[in-house]
Protein backbone atom coordinates (compact mmCIF):
# COMPACT_ATOMS: atom_id res chain seq x y z
CA UNK A 1 0.00 0.00 0.00
CA UNK A 2 3.06 2.24 -0.07
CA UNK A 3 2.10 3.59 -3.50
CA UNK A 4 -1.31 4.76 -2.26
CA UNK A 5 -0.22 7.25 0.36
CA UNK A 6 1.63 9.76 -1.89
CA UNK A 7 -1.32 9.82 -4.29
CA UNK A 8 -3.67 10.78 -1.46
CA UNK A 9 -1.30 13.55 -0.39
CA UNK A 10 -1.07 15.14 -3.85
CA UNK A 11 -2.31 18.67 -4.33
CA UNK A 12 -5.33 19.12 -6.55
CA UNK A 13 -3.23 20.41 -9.43
CA UNK A 14 -1.19 17.23 -9.39
CA UNK A 15 -4.14 14.96 -8.69
CA UNK A 16 -5.39 12.81 -11.53
CA UNK A 17 -9.07 13.14 -12.39
CA UNK A 18 -11.21 10.31 -13.81
CA UNK A 19 -11.57 10.77 -17.57
CA UNK A 20 -15.34 10.38 -17.27
CA UNK A 21 -15.54 13.65 -15.30
CA UNK A 22 -13.63 15.49 -18.02
CA UNK A 23 -15.59 13.93 -20.89
CA UNK A 24 -18.84 14.94 -19.17
CA UNK A 25 -17.95 18.37 -17.84
CA UNK A 26 -16.11 19.89 -20.83
CA UNK A 27 -18.96 19.55 -23.42
CA UNK A 28 -21.60 20.56 -20.84
CA UNK A 29 -19.58 23.67 -19.93
CA UNK A 30 -19.12 24.57 -23.60
CA UNK A 31 -22.86 24.09 -24.18
CA UNK A 32 -23.62 26.31 -21.17
CA UNK A 33 -21.37 29.03 -22.65
CA UNK A 34 -22.93 28.74 -26.11
CA UNK A 35 -26.49 28.92 -24.74
CA UNK A 36 -25.52 31.90 -22.54
CA UNK A 37 -23.96 33.70 -25.51
CA UNK A 38 -27.00 32.90 -27.68
CA UNK A 39 -29.40 34.31 -25.07
CA UNK A 40 -27.20 37.41 -24.80
CA UNK A 41 -27.33 37.85 -28.59
CA UNK A 42 -31.06 37.32 -28.65
CA UNK A 43 -31.90 39.75 -25.84
CA UNK A 44 -29.06 42.26 -26.52
CA UNK A 45 -28.01 42.21 -22.88
CA UNK A 46 -25.22 44.53 -21.65
CA UNK A 47 -23.06 41.50 -20.64
CA UNK A 48 -21.60 38.52 -22.57
CA UNK A 49 -22.66 35.47 -20.48
CA UNK A 50 -20.35 33.14 -22.42
CA UNK A 51 -17.74 32.32 -19.77
CA UNK A 52 -19.62 30.66 -16.91
CA UNK A 53 -18.74 27.14 -18.11
CA UNK A 54 -15.16 28.25 -18.75
CA UNK A 55 -14.85 29.39 -15.13
CA UNK A 56 -16.35 26.14 -13.79
CA UNK A 57 -13.95 23.94 -15.79
CA UNK A 58 -10.86 26.14 -15.27
CA UNK A 59 -11.37 26.03 -11.50
CA UNK A 60 -12.39 22.37 -11.11
CA UNK A 61 -10.33 20.60 -13.82
CA UNK A 62 -7.52 23.08 -14.55
CA UNK A 63 -6.70 26.19 -16.60
CA UNK A 64 -5.89 24.42 -19.87
CA UNK A 65 -9.05 22.34 -19.78
CA UNK A 66 -10.82 25.70 -19.39
CA UNK A 67 -8.93 26.99 -22.43
CA UNK A 68 -10.23 23.98 -24.38
CA UNK A 69 -13.79 24.87 -23.31
CA UNK A 70 -13.18 28.46 -24.45
CA UNK A 71 -12.06 27.39 -27.93
CA UNK A 72 -14.96 24.90 -28.27
CA UNK A 73 -17.40 27.62 -27.17
CA UNK A 74 -16.35 30.24 -29.70
CA UNK A 75 -15.92 27.72 -32.52
CA UNK A 76 -19.38 26.31 -31.83
CA UNK A 77 -20.85 29.82 -31.63
CA UNK A 78 -19.18 30.70 -34.95
CA UNK A 79 -21.14 27.92 -36.68
CA UNK A 80 -24.37 29.03 -34.99
CA UNK A 81 -24.25 32.81 -35.15
CA UNK A 82 -21.50 33.79 -37.59
CA UNK A 83 -17.71 34.04 -37.50
CA UNK A 84 -17.48 37.40 -35.68
CA UNK A 85 -17.13 35.72 -32.29
CA UNK A 86 -14.32 33.40 -33.37
CA UNK A 87 -11.32 35.71 -32.71
CA UNK A 88 -12.72 36.30 -29.22
CA UNK A 89 -11.91 32.66 -28.39
CA UNK A 90 -8.60 34.08 -27.19
CA UNK A 91 -10.48 36.15 -24.57
CA UNK A 92 -12.13 32.97 -23.35
CA UNK A 93 -8.69 31.31 -23.17
CA UNK A 94 -7.30 34.24 -21.14
CA UNK A 95 -10.25 34.02 -18.74
CA UNK A 96 -9.68 30.28 -18.29
CA UNK A 97 -5.97 30.73 -17.60
CA UNK A 98 -6.45 33.56 -15.07
CA UNK A 99 -9.31 31.77 -13.24
CA UNK A 100 -7.53 28.43 -13.32
CA UNK A 101 -4.06 29.53 -12.25
CA UNK A 102 -5.53 32.18 -9.90
CA UNK A 103 -7.53 29.67 -7.85
CA UNK A 104 -5.30 26.60 -8.19
CA UNK A 105 -1.80 28.10 -8.05
CA UNK A 106 -2.20 31.45 -6.28
CA UNK A 107 -4.98 30.64 -3.79
CA UNK A 108 -7.18 33.45 -5.05
CA UNK A 109 -10.34 31.49 -4.29
CA UNK A 110 -9.57 31.05 -0.60
CA UNK A 111 -11.73 33.91 0.71
CA UNK A 112 -14.60 36.00 -0.63
CA UNK A 113 -12.52 39.21 -1.08
CA UNK A 114 -9.73 37.26 -2.85
CA UNK A 115 -12.19 35.62 -5.24
CA UNK A 116 -13.86 38.99 -5.85
CA UNK A 117 -10.46 40.51 -6.75
CA UNK A 118 -9.67 37.50 -8.97
CA UNK A 119 -12.83 38.19 -10.99
CA UNK A 120 -11.78 41.83 -11.37
CA UNK A 121 -8.33 40.68 -12.62
CA UNK A 122 -10.03 38.29 -15.09
CA UNK A 123 -12.17 41.18 -16.37
CA UNK A 124 -9.11 43.40 -16.82
CA UNK A 125 -7.04 40.73 -18.59
CA UNK A 126 -9.93 39.75 -20.88
CA UNK A 127 -10.49 43.40 -21.80
CA UNK A 128 -6.79 43.83 -22.55
CA UNK A 129 -7.08 40.90 -24.98
CA UNK A 130 -10.42 41.95 -26.46
CA UNK A 131 -9.67 45.60 -27.21
CA UNK A 132 -7.03 45.01 -29.95
CA UNK A 133 -9.41 42.48 -31.55
CA UNK A 134 -12.28 45.00 -31.43
CA UNK A 135 -10.20 47.88 -32.80
CA UNK A 136 -7.93 46.21 -35.37
CA UNK A 137 -10.23 43.44 -36.62
CA UNK A 138 -13.64 45.05 -36.39
CA UNK A 139 -12.98 48.80 -36.32
CA UNK A 140 -14.35 49.10 -32.77
CA UNK A 141 -17.84 47.63 -33.20
CA UNK A 142 -19.24 44.11 -33.46
CA UNK A 143 -22.96 44.74 -33.02
CA UNK A 144 -22.92 43.98 -29.27
CA UNK A 145 -24.79 46.18 -26.81
CA UNK A 146 -21.44 47.61 -25.62
CA UNK A 147 -21.12 49.42 -28.98
CA UNK A 148 -23.67 51.94 -27.63
CA UNK A 149 -21.33 52.66 -24.72
CA UNK A 150 -18.38 52.95 -27.10
CA UNK A 151 -20.36 55.50 -29.11
CA UNK A 152 -21.14 57.42 -25.90
CA UNK A 153 -17.43 57.53 -24.96
CA UNK A 154 -16.53 58.61 -28.52
CA UNK A 155 -19.10 61.40 -28.22
CA UNK A 156 -17.34 62.53 -25.02
CA UNK A 157 -14.22 63.13 -27.13
CA UNK A 158 -12.20 60.00 -26.31
CA UNK A 159 -10.22 58.27 -29.07
CA UNK A 160 -11.37 54.89 -30.43
CA UNK A 161 -8.93 52.77 -28.40
CA UNK A 162 -9.84 54.43 -25.07
CA UNK A 163 -13.57 54.35 -25.90
CA UNK A 164 -13.54 50.65 -26.76
CA UNK A 165 -11.47 49.83 -23.67
CA UNK A 166 -13.75 51.91 -21.39
CA UNK A 167 -16.94 50.30 -22.66
CA UNK A 168 -15.41 46.82 -22.70
CA UNK A 169 -14.00 46.99 -19.18
CA UNK A 170 -17.38 48.14 -17.79
CA UNK A 171 -19.22 45.28 -19.51
CA UNK A 172 -16.44 42.82 -18.68
CA UNK A 173 -16.37 43.74 -14.97
CA UNK A 174 -20.06 43.00 -14.64
CA UNK A 175 -19.85 39.88 -16.80
CA UNK A 176 -16.89 38.31 -14.99
CA UNK A 177 -18.28 39.06 -11.52
CA UNK A 178 -21.53 37.34 -12.50
CA UNK A 179 -19.75 34.47 -14.31
CA UNK A 180 -17.27 33.88 -11.47
CA UNK A 181 -19.86 33.79 -8.71
CA UNK A 182 -22.41 31.76 -10.71
CA UNK A 183 -19.55 29.31 -11.37
CA UNK A 184 -18.90 29.21 -7.62
CA UNK A 185 -22.52 28.19 -7.03
CA UNK A 186 -22.33 25.56 -9.80
CA UNK A 187 -19.09 24.11 -8.39
CA UNK A 188 -20.81 23.82 -5.02
CA UNK A 189 -23.48 21.63 -6.65
CA UNK A 190 -20.95 19.35 -8.41
CA UNK A 191 -19.81 16.00 -6.91
CA UNK A 192 -17.50 16.68 -3.90
CA UNK A 193 -14.67 14.68 -5.53
CA UNK A 194 -14.37 17.36 -8.23
CA UNK A 195 -13.95 20.28 -5.84
CA UNK A 196 -12.57 18.69 -2.68
CA UNK A 197 -8.90 19.50 -3.24
CA UNK A 198 -9.44 23.04 -4.52
CA UNK A 199 -8.67 25.95 -2.25
CA UNK A 200 -12.12 27.54 -2.55
CA UNK A 201 -14.03 29.64 0.01
CA UNK A 202 -14.43 27.52 3.14
CA UNK A 203 -17.82 28.27 4.66
CA UNK A 204 -21.21 26.71 5.29
CA UNK A 205 -23.09 25.93 2.08
CA UNK A 206 -25.73 28.60 2.80
CA UNK A 207 -22.99 31.18 3.34
CA UNK A 208 -21.29 30.23 0.06
CA UNK A 209 -24.60 30.67 -1.78
CA UNK A 210 -24.94 34.06 -0.07
CA UNK A 211 -21.45 35.01 -1.33
CA UNK A 212 -22.45 33.90 -4.84
CA UNK A 213 -25.61 36.02 -4.63
CA UNK A 214 -23.61 39.05 -3.40
CA UNK A 215 -21.18 38.65 -6.33
CA UNK A 216 -24.00 38.44 -8.88
CA UNK A 217 -25.74 41.47 -7.34
CA UNK A 218 -22.42 43.39 -7.48
CA UNK A 219 -22.16 42.48 -11.19
CA UNK A 220 -25.68 43.68 -11.89
CA UNK A 221 -24.92 46.90 -9.96
CA UNK A 222 -21.87 47.50 -12.21
CA UNK A 223 -24.12 47.04 -15.28
CA UNK A 224 -26.66 49.56 -13.98
CA UNK A 225 -24.00 52.11 -12.99
CA UNK A 226 -22.24 51.83 -16.36
CA UNK A 227 -25.54 52.23 -18.20
CA UNK A 228 -26.31 55.31 -16.11
CA UNK A 229 -22.84 56.81 -16.66
CA UNK A 230 -22.88 56.37 -20.43
CA UNK A 231 -26.59 57.12 -20.78
CA UNK A 232 -27.04 54.03 -22.99
Amino acid sequence: MAAVAPAARRTRYQQRIPLTYVVTLVPVAAALNIVGGYIDNLLHLPIFMDMIGTAVVAITLGPWWGALVGVITNTGSAFLSGPVGLPFALCNVVGALVWGYGVRSFGMGRTFPRFFVLNLIVAFMVSLTAVPIYVFLFGGATGHFSDLMTAAFLAMGQNLFVSVFSSNILVSLADKLIAGFVALAIIDALPPALSSGIDLIKAARSQRYMYAAIGVVAGIAVVLVSLAVTGS
Binding site: M1, R10, Q15, P63, L68, I72, P83, L86, L90
Partner: protein, 85 residues
Protein backbone atom coordinates in the same frame (compact mmCIF):
# COMPACT_ATOMS: atom_id res chain seq x y z
CA UNK B 1 -0.42 2.29 6.32
CA UNK B 2 -4.11 3.18 5.79
CA UNK B 3 -5.97 1.86 2.79
CA UNK B 4 -7.21 4.37 0.23
CA UNK B 5 -10.73 5.23 1.45
CA UNK B 6 -13.07 4.98 -1.56
CA UNK B 7 -15.89 6.70 0.33
CA UNK B 8 -13.77 9.77 1.14
CA UNK B 9 -14.81 12.66 -1.17
CA UNK B 10 -11.23 14.01 -0.89
CA UNK B 11 -10.00 11.04 -2.92
CA UNK B 12 -11.52 10.83 -6.39
CA UNK B 13 -12.42 7.43 -7.75
CA UNK B 14 -9.34 6.22 -9.62
CA UNK B 15 -10.68 3.08 -11.28
CA UNK B 16 -10.55 3.40 -15.06
CA UNK B 17 -8.61 5.97 -17.04
CA UNK B 18 -7.54 9.21 -15.39
CA UNK B 19 -6.16 12.49 -16.69
CA UNK B 20 -3.98 15.14 -15.08
CA UNK B 21 -2.14 18.39 -15.75
CA UNK B 22 -0.15 16.85 -18.63
CA UNK B 23 -3.26 15.85 -20.56
CA UNK B 24 -4.89 19.21 -19.75
CA UNK B 25 -1.95 21.10 -21.20
CA UNK B 26 -1.94 18.80 -24.23
CA UNK B 27 -5.61 19.44 -24.90
CA UNK B 28 -5.07 23.20 -24.45
CA UNK B 29 -2.29 23.17 -27.06
CA UNK B 30 -4.46 21.05 -29.41
CA UNK B 31 -7.27 23.62 -28.99
CA UNK B 32 -4.89 26.46 -29.89
CA UNK B 33 -3.68 24.47 -32.92
CA UNK B 34 -7.29 23.89 -34.00
CA UNK B 35 -7.93 27.64 -33.67
CA UNK B 36 -4.88 28.30 -35.88
CA UNK B 37 -6.18 25.80 -38.46
CA UNK B 38 -9.56 27.51 -38.86
CA UNK B 39 -8.20 31.09 -38.83
CA UNK B 40 -7.87 31.37 -42.65
CA UNK B 41 -11.52 30.34 -43.10
CA UNK B 42 -12.57 32.59 -40.21
CA UNK B 43 -10.73 35.63 -41.60
CA UNK B 44 -12.40 35.17 -44.97
CA UNK B 45 -15.82 34.68 -43.35
CA UNK B 46 -15.37 37.79 -41.15
CA UNK B 47 -14.58 39.96 -44.19
CA UNK B 48 -17.62 38.54 -46.00
CA UNK B 49 -19.86 39.08 -42.98
CA UNK B 50 -18.74 42.55 -41.92
CA UNK B 51 -17.72 43.98 -45.32
CA UNK B 52 -14.75 45.70 -43.69
CA UNK B 53 -10.99 45.13 -43.47
CA UNK B 54 -9.07 42.65 -45.61
CA UNK B 55 -8.33 38.98 -45.09
CA UNK B 56 -4.56 39.48 -44.86
CA UNK B 57 -4.65 42.00 -41.98
CA UNK B 58 -7.27 40.03 -40.03
CA UNK B 59 -5.24 36.85 -40.44
CA UNK B 60 -2.01 38.64 -39.47
CA UNK B 61 -3.56 40.18 -36.32
CA UNK B 62 -5.12 36.87 -35.28
CA UNK B 63 -1.90 34.92 -35.79
CA UNK B 64 0.11 37.49 -33.80
CA UNK B 65 -2.28 37.25 -30.86
CA UNK B 66 -2.53 33.46 -31.09
CA UNK B 67 1.27 33.27 -31.04
CA UNK B 68 1.30 34.83 -27.56
CA UNK B 69 -0.90 32.00 -26.27
CA UNK B 70 1.22 29.32 -27.89
CA UNK B 71 4.24 30.84 -26.14
CA UNK B 72 2.27 30.84 -22.86
CA UNK B 73 1.48 27.14 -23.41
CA UNK B 74 5.17 26.45 -23.92
CA UNK B 75 6.05 28.31 -20.72
CA UNK B 76 3.38 26.29 -18.88
CA UNK B 77 4.91 23.05 -20.18
CA UNK B 78 8.31 24.12 -18.87
CA UNK B 79 7.12 25.15 -15.41
CA UNK B 80 4.43 22.54 -14.70
CA UNK B 81 5.61 19.73 -12.45
CA UNK B 82 4.64 16.40 -14.00
CA UNK B 83 6.94 14.33 -11.78
CA UNK B 84 4.18 13.01 -9.55
CA UNK B 85 2.08 11.72 -12.45
Amino acid sequence: MAELDRTDPEVPETTGRTVGAKEGLGMGVIALGFLALILPWASNAIVDATKQGDVYSILTGSVLELGVFIIAAGVAVIFTNFDSE
